[in-house]
Each structure stands twice: as structure tokens, then as C-alpha cells.
């Protein structure tokens, strides 16, 4: 094995504004107290499917390796089960850091195109913004149409079962006045300077 091919990462390539931005988000302030024990990776039921373990992501975030973190599938595999947050001996809310990273990736469109988890999050977001409630069947249909329409063929058995059992509701659920929902989603004027999202 030629060990000299190993890629060297330079501190100078890092982006110190990255950890600074993450640490400002509520729940993420304790990032620096990470002792790299690996408990988060050990208890994570999805870490074996990730290209980087949560422990590695914690370290890369705090040293500003933004590009590497944003390109990894780790943040999108996180299913928010909070095992890491509960077990962390340094009381770091790892799940909240994962959420902060997802938000940043979506804001900066730094994710693979047609990546199903991102499509689901965005479609869910749009549906609630326009109606105030979610219809799961509409959501899953949108998700499949936008990612892999052929996958729906494989879901025929489940679809038929759900119809047969009265669980396949196509009725779009809504609050009485969805405009009320959009109102509370605008950042108030004395907010933290973030612009109101426009969808």
C-alpha cells in the first residue's frame, strides 16, 4: 500500500465561519466540548450505513471542514432517534447539530440532486406551508414522482392493502385558513436578521 497517496487536509482550507454558525443555533452550543469518545457512533443504529460516523462529523464540523461534511450522507441518514443525544457524556445535542447541518445544506443547496431525504423534507415543508396539515399518500406520491417514479410499481401490494383497509385517504387535509400558517412562518421584524423564506 502506498501511504503517500493519502489526502492531506490543511487547516488553511477550512472555514472557521462554519463551526461558528453551527454553534450559534440553539442546542448546538456545546459542540466544542466533544471528547471524540465515539459513543454517538456506537449507539447510532444507522452509523454503519453512513460514509462518515457521527463522531467524525462532530470533529470535522468543529474544525471547519465544511465541504467534507456537506458532501457526506451522514446528515441525511440521521433519522432523529436521539440515541446519541441521550448517551453523549458531554451532553452535546448531536441530533440538533445534525438538524442544523441539514438546514444549512438545504439553504445552500449543498446536497446531491434528487436526493430522496431532501425531496421529502422540502415537499413536506411545502405541503404544510400551503395547507397546514399533511396527507401522507399525497406526500409519498410526490416523493416518488420526483425521485424514482418506477419505485411506485414495487409499492402496488402495499397500496392495494391500504385501500382495502380504508387507510388510503386522498382527502387533502387542511386547517381552516392556511394563510394563518404562512403568517407565523414569516420571521418577525425583530428576528435574528434571517430573511423570511419565500417558496
Amino acid at each position: 500500500m502506498d501511504v503517500t497517496t493519502r489526502h492531506i487536509k490543511y487547516q488553511a482550507d477550512c472555514d472557521p465561519s462554519f463551526p461558528a454558525a453551527i454553534k450559534k443555533i440553539p442546542g448546538c452550543e456545546k459542540l466544542d466540548s466533544c471528547i471524540q469518545c465515539g459513543t454517538c457512533s456506537g449507539v447510532c443504529p444507522l452509523s454503519i450505513y453512513m460514509d462518515m460516523t457521527p463522531r467524525r462529523v462532530m470533529n470535522l464540523v468543529r474544525y471547519g471542514f465544511k465541504k467534507e461534511v456537506m458532501a457526506s450522507n451522514t446528515i441525511w441518514l440521521c433519522s432523529s432517534c436521539y440515541a446519541c443525544t441521550v448517551e453523549c457524556p458531554r451532553e452535546i445535542k448531536v441530533t440538533d447539530i445534525m438538524y442544523a447541518l441539514k438546514q444549512m445544506a438545504i439553504r445552500e443547496k449543498a446536497y446531491p440532486r434528487r436526493f430522496a431525504m431532501v425531496v421529502l423534507a422540502n415537499e413536506f415543508y411545502k405541503m404544510v406551508r400551503s395547507r397546514g396539515r399533511v396527507n401522507e399518500i399525497h406526500l409519498v406520491t410526490r416523493l416518488n414522482l420526483l425521485t424514482n417514479p418506477l419505485k411506485m410499481l414495487g409499492m402496488a401490494r402495499l397500496g392495494i392493502e391500504l385501500i382495502r383497509r380504508g387507510r388510503f385517504s386522498l382527502r387533502p387535509e387542511s386547517v381552516r385558513d392556511p394563510q394563518r400558517i404562512r403568517e407565523i412562518m414569516e420571521y418577525p421584524e425583530n428576528g435574528n436578521g434571517k430573511e423570511a423564506r419565500t417558496q
Partner: protein, 296 residues
């Protein structure tokens, strides 16, 4: 006992049985649920992935609506909704800057958030407010042949441990034993089922569910009892695909704990929405309870 009730979007669609069984059992126990008028989606895990302020403001609208109705305690059967609503309440209190911004957004929509409503999980209401002794009094058909693997899922006890232990919760086990069933040792009881990854990355989520089903079966369970509509969907709905893919018969009947309570109380399986479960058709309890309930 009276609680304000947040149903959540799932129970209007694929999780209908969750609501049906919860309502049936709650009526039997004499507890009153008042649905929060015009409630909206809690945001689940998807909202927090897109925008934090919007996620918290969206969930907080429900808390403010409950307050407006004079609620002191609100409850929900879905563990996802429970976590999001509870987390929102915690964040508004723990981070004043977040709280002020959320309150500001709500004010624009004519709502006032004070923080006076407690968010409770439905399971918590059953085991602590109603109590196991009271539940035992309603049992007409003790479920002596049922060996339950009690599946809590992740968000029922994490990250907040308001009503049960976090590492090895026991409340569903105790509840099932009060119904006359036996609960088996089940180390995977809080292991994640993959949640919405079943839709986005089924190859991984199916493997997570496979492990849960397999462990339950090998520990001698003949029924998995779950809490949350999403866990139930994942465990109950994909068994044929999972059996085919992993080449091992891990199929095992699944139901909501409220459905099991209803059966023990002598409530008609149809009222409990049991026919909506994909695994109900081959559940041993089906033969036992269909005739019994007709006479009851």
C-alpha cells in the same frame, strides 16, 4: 379527567386505527378528550430539517391554540408529535431569544403564547393518571396466551424522559401485564425503526425493521405492541418484502398498545380498527376475539 387532544396528521390517514383504538379505550376508561380546534401539523422531523424558526413556530401554534381553549394539559397518541410539541415547549423556555421570536410570530397571527400547557404522551396518561389498578378493573378477557414484545420506538422516551426510563423503559410492559399478557425480554425496544427512511431509503430501513422483528420473535414473542403510527406502519406493513429479502420468516403480528387494551376490555375488534392492520389476518387473537366480542 379531561385533556386537550392533538391527533396529528398520521391518524387521519394511514394511522386511523391509532385514533380509533385510542378513542375507544379512553371512552371505556371515562377520560374526556377535547380535540384542539383547527390544530395544524406538528412539523415532524421534516420541518426541523428545513428551517428551525418555522418548525418551532408551527408547533407552537398548537400549544397557543390549546392555551386559548383554557387547556392545562394536552396529549397526543403519536410519539413524533409528542416529541416535537414537547421539544418546542422546552426550547421556548430554555432559549429566550428563540422564545421571543416564536412568540412574535404567533402574535402576528393573533395568538398569545404563555407556556401554561403541559404536553403529555397518551401512554403517560394511561399508566400514571388512569393507573394500572383502574385499567385492571376494566379487563374482561385477560390475555393469558399473549407474549408481547413491547416496542417503544425512539421518540417516546428520547430525548425527554418525562414518564419512563430511557434505557430500558417498562411502562408498556407493565401495562400489558395488567391486561394479563406476558411481556418478553426485548432489548431492541427503543431501537429506531428508521422512521421516514422507509420511504426514502428502504434498503436500510427494511434492515432496521428486520432486526426488530427477528429479535422479538427469537425472544419468544407472538405479538409486537407499538405506540407511534409511524413505527406501527414500518413494523406492520412491509413484512412480506422483508421476509423475501432476508430469506427468514420473521413475520409476527403487530398492533397498537391501545388495540391490545381494547381487546382485553372486550371492545369489538372493528371498533379498535384491527382490520386495518396488515398483520391482523394471521394474528391468533383474531380467532379468539371476533366471536367473544360479539357476545360482549
Amino acid at each position: 379527567m379531561r385533556y386537550h387532544y392533538f391527533p396529528g396528521c398520521s391518524v387521519l390517514g394511514t394511522g386511523r386505527a391509532c385514533e380509533e383504538s385510542t378513542q375507544a379505550v379512553i371512552r371505556e376508561l371515562g377520560v374526556e378528550l377535547k380535540e384542539i380546534d383547527d390544530w395544524n401539523c406538528c412539523g415532524a422531523t421534516a420541518y426541523m430539517s428545513v428551517d428551525e424558526h418555522n418548525a418551532l413556530a408551527l408547533a407552537a401554534r398548537n400549544l397557543a391554540l390549546a392555551e386559548k381553549e383554557g387547556a392545562t394539559q394536552m396529549t397526543t397518541p403519536c410519539s413524533g408529535c409528542y416529541l416535537v410539541l414537547n421539544k418546542t415547549k422546552h426550547y421556548i423556555e430554555e432559549y429566550p431569544a428563540v422564545g421571543n421570536r416564536v412568540k412574535g410570530s404567533l402574535r402576528k397571527a393573533g395568538l398569545n403564547y404563555q407556556g401554561t400547557v403541559r404536553v403529555r404522551h397518551m401512554l403517560d396518561i394511561f399508566v400514571h393518571d388512569v393507573g394500572l389498578d383502574e385499567i385492571k378493573k376494566h379487563v374482561k378477557f385477560p390475555l393469558k396466551d399473549v407474549k408481547v414484545a413491547a416496542y417503544y420506538g425512539c421518540q417516546t422516551v428520547r430525548p425527554y424522559k418525562d414518564f419512563d426510563q430511557q434505557h430500558f423503559p417498562t411502562k408498556i410492559d407493565e401495562l400489558c401485564e395488567a391486561l394479563g399478557a406476558r411481556s418478553v425480554h426485548f432489548p431492541l425496544k427503543t431501537r429506531c425503526c428508521g422512521g421516514s427512511q422507509m420511504g426514502t431509503l428502504p434498503s436500510v430501513a427494511q434492515r432496521l425493521v428486520f432486526a426488530i422483528l427477528r429479535e422479538a420473535k427469537r425472544q419468544g414473542a407472538n405479538l409486537i405492541v407499538s405506540v407511534c403510527p409511524l413505527c406501527h406502519f414500518n413494523l406492520d406493513s412491509y413484512q412480506p418484502e422483508i421476509v423475501r429479502r432476508f430469506g427468514e420468516d420473521v413475520s409476527i403480528p403487530c398492533m397498537y398498545y391501545t388495540q391490545l387494551m381494547g381487546l382485553a376490555f372486550g371492545i369489538d375488534p372493528k371498533t379498535l380498527g384491527l382490520q386495518r392492520n396488515l398483520t391482523w389476518d394471521r394474528c391468533a387473537l383474531r380467532k379468539q376475539f371476533a366471536p367473544a366480542a360479539v357476545g360482549a
